[in-house]
């Protein structure tokens, strides 16, 4: 009997270890971070809540199923900013790989976007969804990334009714699927070197 108990403990430990290294699974649900009432303006790379009111939280297998409905995939992961202090000879060729078919708005997950940027963002997403606010939209970046939570929140507030938030982001996606290089949407190219840019 004790052997059996021991064995099942070993199995349990192994399974949890396996889950821990797999951001694919809904491991985010252990988060105790409360949902802020408004957009998050604190450190962008930190623990996120388990929920997003008005939106559904999904994991990678759920996204794989959802793809049949051709959702709009919105990546708000940060763009690499050319560092200060690089010698001129450096070959600087950043690439951003995302879920195939995604549109990329680097920096659009900031909680402190100027009004005109918000307007442009919502207008572009309106175009991409054909003005249909019940069209499925998926927001993501990487794990522990408030940007994807924020843009989900913005879309819920703007009246979108099928918002899905993928906390596992590209990191979780690429555990099981390949990624494609994407270019930033017009108007969202990263700022040139110098000065402080948005927090990663």
């Amino acid at each position: 009997m004790t052997r059996l108990v021991l064995a099942s403990r070993v199995l349990l430990a192994a399974v949890s270890a396996a889950l821990m290294i797999l951001p694919v699974a809904a491991a985010e649900s252990t988060s105790h971070v409360p949902e802020p009432r408004e957009l998050w303006t604190g450190p962008m790379a930190s623990d996120t809540p388990a929920t997003l009111e008005g939106a559904q939280v999904i994991d990678v297998p759920a996204l794989e199923k959802l793809l049949a409905e051709k959702p709009l995939l919105i990546d708000v992961g940060p763009a690499d900013r050319k560092p200060d202090g690089l010698p001129a000879s450096t070959i600087w060729k950043p690439t951003h790989r995302s879920i195939p078919g995604a549109v990329w708005f680097p920096g659009a997950g900031s909680g402190e976007l100027p009004d005109e940027k918000v307007e442009a963002l919502l207008q572009r997403i309106g175009e991409l969804t054909g003005g249909n606010k019940s069209a499925p939209v998926v927001t993501f970046c990487r794990p522990k990334c408030w940007a994807s939570w924020n843009i989900g929140k913005r879309l819920v507030k703007a009246g979108y009714t099928s918002v899905y938030w993928l906390p596992a982001g590209v990191t979780g996606w690429q555990e099981r699927n390949d990624t494609s290089p994407v270019e930033p949407e017009a108007g969202w190219t990263p700022k040139p070197s110098g000065g402080q840019s948005a927090a990663k």
Binding site: A7, I91, K93, E175, R176, P181
Partner: protein, 268 residues
């Protein structure tokens, strides 16, 4: 007992191959057309229109399939025909600054094996290219799963990270033909954010490291932000009766360091 054994086996299997339990197991291995296109773009940028042949019987690269620490990924490049190779180029395709290192070997150098630690920013191919004395190029690659290595914060203040900068150690192996060089340097990538000030620390890394044995060059490395902090470089050399190794290093801020090390006694 049988039950226990099978449960343990199942547990071990689950731990080792978690993805195998799921549908849609990832078969990404770096051979995808878009990844090949990236390599073609980069190699043209670095090598121009020089042809690059498959290097299977000349050069190999070893890297972890999944790196434990993306800021510290160990890479071993081995050259099988050492007399033909005069330089090795290391390219981390999907890093924003992909040309990680160029290593040129001198008369005291032996390109048989070189070990480096690198930063990997996203799932990527890492290419090692051997350049022969007559200018021919041969490539091989490894696909590495790691992300965030270039922007991973150092965890201490910049001043703390720079403490003892330039200090060196050299460890010689008993065989008197391989050694390991360690240099203290944060190798700031310029993509690391100070977690307190939320400002990016400007790039500052070891630009050139030259190791000589007597008055002959062993190797020269041209570095990049993709090399990990506190570089640890394993290398081979041609034994001789010279008594001293000299290491000269310069970083992108122009600071220079030089250190000498007594060569180990030769075993005949």
């Amino acid at each position: 007992m049988k039950l226990l054994r099978s449960l343990v086996i199942a547990a071990v299997f689950t731990t080792a191959y978690p993805a195998a339990l799921l549908a849609g197991v990832s078969m990404i291995d770096g051979s995808e057309p878009e990844r090949q296109a990236r390599w073609e773009e980069l190699s043209e940028y670095i090598f121009g229109d020089r042809p690059i042949e498959a290097g299977g019987d000349l050069i190999t690269i070893e890297a972890p399939t999944r790196a434990q620490d993306p800021a510290l990924v160990p890479i071993t490049v081995k050259v099988l025909k050492k007399d033909e190779v005069q330089a090795i180029h290391l390219v981390i395709d999907d890093n924003p600054s992909p040309y990680a290192a160029r290593i040129k070997f001198g008369p005291a150098g032996d390109p048989s094996e070189i070990k480096l630690r690198v930063r990997v920013n996203d799932y990527t191919n890492i290419h090692a290219v051997a350049e022969t004395a007559d200018g021919r190029l041969y490539q091989t690659r490894a696909f590495v799963k790691a992300s965030g290595g270039c922007s991973a914060p150092i965890g201490v203040s910049d001043a703390e990270a720079l403490k003892g900068v330039g200090q060196m150690k050299m460890k010689f192996d008993d065989n008197a033909k391989t050694a390991t060089l360690m240099i203290r340097h944060p190798n700031f990538s310029g993509m690391q954010m100070n977690q307190v000030t939320r400002l990016y620390t400007p790039a500052r890394y070891l630009d050139e490291i030259k190791v000589s044995y007597g008055d002959k060059t062993v190797f020269e490395i041209k570095g990049d932000i993709s090399l990990s902090s506190d570089p640890v470089i394993g290398f081979s050399y041609n034994p001789s009766d010279e008594s001293e190794f000299t290491v000269r290093a310069v970083d992108t801020k122009g600071e220079r360091w030089e250190e000498t090390f007594a060569a180990p006694a030769r075993i005949n």
